[in-house]
């Protein structure tokens, strides 16, 4: 930790020196990584940072992009929208033109808005935003921005996949929704309610709770409420400690309902639930380490080798895809200027370990296959890899093809002139 702080300080000092020179320093493309690296979600922020470093190192090993190396510059936003806006000013001052963020849609909305204003006023310093995990649908609909690109599937796309799967599960009769009280959690609750009503009108929604983000340390009262409602399935978009503690409380109270989650495979949850989650804990994601294929195995093993001390695993394909697409677009237009790179990202297609990923031109949302999977005992075959060295991993229940996840958009962004 001390080491990484030192490094962050050094990077900061170096960036300050670079500020004195021309905006785009010679020989490096800087990617600002904006995430809560402290506070309740500091641990998940660090996981993303490792993935970005992993992606950047691979590109650099192959000689970088257009002969320039990729350099990752981490910034701590404390997962706060206000803090993130201040950080945005800092990175602009340091001449950084690319940023990446993914934890927290409230932060993402604030950043996208700040970037929109900045780009309109300072077109010569245009910043491009790669969103790897903030999945509030508004970001690619009502509040979309030309320079914002999302590489993860949004709440509605994932809920579409999840409810398609839930519709086939005949044992579900009563569903309980529990989510974090901010834009993302609210949109999960809204999408779940609407889609379940449509696909399984016989299913009763017996509870709909919103709790403060990152503040609840004891979920026992909520679990008692879920238990009292008689729910046999719980749908939650909770992430970070909020999902780990919820699952822990559910396990302590002996709650046997199935959990349909967005982020149960994220850091911290699998060790908490262990055996009790087998068969009960499900997640909807664009990737998990047991989707199969030699590419998946190679990536997971390379990541474990690169970060042997960390407990997390290869998880954020959206970060890898973002960097692959970015370098392809840069090479296509032979420039690292976001004004030229952004249009080149539109419609770009790449072959990945999960299948083909395309960047939609009308709202800048990546389209890719989505997986529903269940927590199971690792067996070396279809559950080859465990998560966080627990002996348990995820097994694919359903693969939803990319074309079946496309939803209409209300996005009407202003394209830059020329």
């Amino acid at each position: 930790m001390v080491k990484s702080r030192l490094r962050a300080a050094l990077v900061g000092a170096m960036a300050a020196l670079a500020f004195a020179g021309p905006a785009a320093a010679q020989g490096v493309v800087k990617i600002a990584y904006l995430e809560g690296l402290s506070g309740p979600f500091g641990n998940v922020g660090e996981v993303g940072l490792r993935h970005l470093q992993f992606a950047a190192e691979r590109i650099n090993e192959k000689g970088g992009v257009l002969g320039q190396k990729i350099e990752v510059v981490p910034f701590d936003t404390k997962t706060s929208p206000q803090e993130a806006q201040l950080v945005f000013k800092q990175l602009v001052d340091q001449g950084i033109r690319y940023m990446m963020q993914g934890n927290g849609s409230a932060v993402a909305l604030a950043l996208s808005e700040a970037m929109g204003k900045h780009n309109a006023r300072n077109p010569e310093q245009t910043v491009l935003y790669m969103n790897y995990g903030a999945v509030d649908p508004a970001l690619t609909n009502d509040k979309c921005n030309f320079y914002h690109f999302r590489f993860d599937a949004d709440v509605d796309m994932k809920m579409q996949a999840l409810t398609n799967y839930m519709a086939t599960q005949k044992n579900i009769a009563k569903v309980y929704l529990i989510n974090q009280d901010y834009s993302f959690g609210q949109s999960v609750a809204k999408a779940a309610r609407a889609m379940l009503n449509q696909k399984r009108p016989d299913v009763q929604i017996v509870g709909d709770d919103l709790h403060p983000l990152g503040k609840v340390k004891d979920f026992a009262p909520y679990v008692a409420k879920i238990k009292a409602s008689g729910a046999d399935a719980v749908v939650t978009g909770n992430w970070g400690n909020d999902v780990a503690l919820l699952i822990k409380a559910a396990k302590d109270a002996g709650l046997t309902a199935d959990f349909y989650t967005y982020y149960a495979g994220g850091l911290g949850t699998p060790p908490v639930i262990g055996e009790a989650g087998v068969g009960h804990l499900k997640q909807v994601t664009v990737f998990h380490s047991n989707i199969g294929g030699s590419g998946t195995v190679a990536n997971v093993e390379a990541y474990r080798k690169r970060f042997p001390d960390s407990k997390d695993d290869f998880y954020w394909t959206s970060i890898i895809n973002a960097m692959t697409m970015l370098t392809m677009a840069m090479e296509k237009v032979k420039s690292t200027d976001p004004v030229k790179v952004a249009p080149a990202l539109e419609g770009i297609k790449i072959d990945t370990i999960t299948g083909e990923v395309t960047m939609r031109a009308d709202n800048h949302q990546a389209v890719q296959p989505i997986f529903v999977s269940t927590f199971s005992k690792a067996n070396g075959k279809d559950v080859k890899f465990d998560v966080e060295r627990t002996g348990f991993g995820f097994r694919t229940d359903a693969r939803i093809e990319a074309k079946d996840t496309v939803l209409p958009t209300t996005c009407k962004f202003q394209r830059p002139k020329g």
């Binding site: 402290s38 403060p212 004891d218 009262p221 409420k225 002996g254 911290g268």
Partner: protein, 315 residues
């Protein structure tokens, strides 16, 4: 019924933990007139020390060692910190503890990092103690309650049945007289401060693994503890006890109520304009407002009875 019993037990275990924290704070306040802003930081230190100790020698020795180390730090804080700034008055003392809270947080960042540490419940206590209808009740919660109650009884006995307890009680109200009788009042102050810190540390040891051990834990419980002390009455142990249980119950039970002002209007037959900008406020349920309820209670108490539930001081 099942829900009520489980929630009642949950609120009891949370309330007792709050009391362990607030008892030290209120004791220190009544004795020295200092609101110790760093009190919750001792709670956090207790959790981190217990985590560190338990990685070497296991949980049970940590249960004893961690509070003792925190007590030592508390004694040093009083002897070399508070006593030095005491001559500049209460404001200086207040600012000192305020600054100390920040320093402790930064030190924790430096040593253990910003992410939560894997401080876990010992395996021997990781089972369900009993079942209420179909809900299991974890043994560790029972253990937490036992520790809290044992501490409560011990504190009561020390304060009322022992010589040192009598001197402490006498120093609370008549420090000059106690000094004149030949007792070393500054040392008594130091002992009380160390004792209060140890109680907070003990709460950290058993609360840290039940919830999360992270650098933000001091801030998140700190404000609630102040609410407890103000609500119960500054300097009153009995008040702090009742207030802890009330605040614990309010926080746990409020989660269960999905009533909003809108549903209240519905029952008493008031039509509400659904287009109005106030709609967002009317729709907030008690469950959603749960985190602010303790603060509302505190404000209400300050309006109705500024000295708190059992407090003796006015204003």
């Amino acid at each position: 019924m099942e829900f009520f019993l489980v929630t009642l037990l949950n609120s009891l275990s949370y309330g007792l933990l709050l009391f362990m924290l607030s008892s030290g704070l209120t004791l220190i306040f009544s004795m020295m007139g200092v609101l110790n802003f760093a009190h919750a930081s001792f709670y956090m230190l207790g959790a981190y020390f217990a985590y560190q100790t338990s990685t070497y020698v296991g949980f049970w020795p940590a249960l004893v060692i961690a509070p003792l180390v925190v007590a030592g730090l508390g004694a040093i804080t009083e002897r070399y910190g508070l006593r030095t700034v005491h001559k500049y008055g209460h404001v200086a003392e207040l600012l000192f503890t305020f600054g100390l809270a920040y320093i402790i947080e930064e030190v924790v960042h430096l040593i253990w990092g910003r992410a939560p540490v894997p401080y876990r419940i010992p395996e021997i206590l990781d089972f369900s103690a009993f079942s209420i209808f179909s809900t299991q009740y974890p043994a560790y919660r029972v253990f937490m309650m036992l520790i809290s109650v044992a501490m409560l009884v011990a504190l009561y006995l020390v304060l009322t049945r022992t010589r040192i307890g009598m001197i402490i009680q006498a120093s609370l109200s008549h420090p000059d007289m106690v000094q004149a009788l030949g007792h070393n009042v500054p040392t008594v102050f130091m002992l009380v401060f160390a004792g209060g810190a140890a109680l907070a540390g003990l709460a950290g040891v058993i609360g840290g693994n039940a919830f999360v051990t992270e650098p933000g834990m001091a801030v998140s419980v700190g404000t609630i503890v102040f609410v407890v002390v103000v609500f119960g009455g500054m300097g009153s142990l009995a008040g702090a006890f009742i207030a802890s249980l009330i605040i614990g119950a309010v926080q746990t039970f409020s989660v269960a109520f999905d009533y909003s002002l809108l549903s209240l209007f519905g029952t008493i037959g008031i039509k509400v304009n659904t287009e109005s900008g106030w709609m967002e406020l009317w729709k907030v349920t008690i469950a959603q407002a749960a985190p602010v309820l303790p603060y509302l209670l505190m404000v209400a108490m300050l309006i109705v009875r500024p000295k708190g539930l059992m407090g003796t001081r006015e204003g």
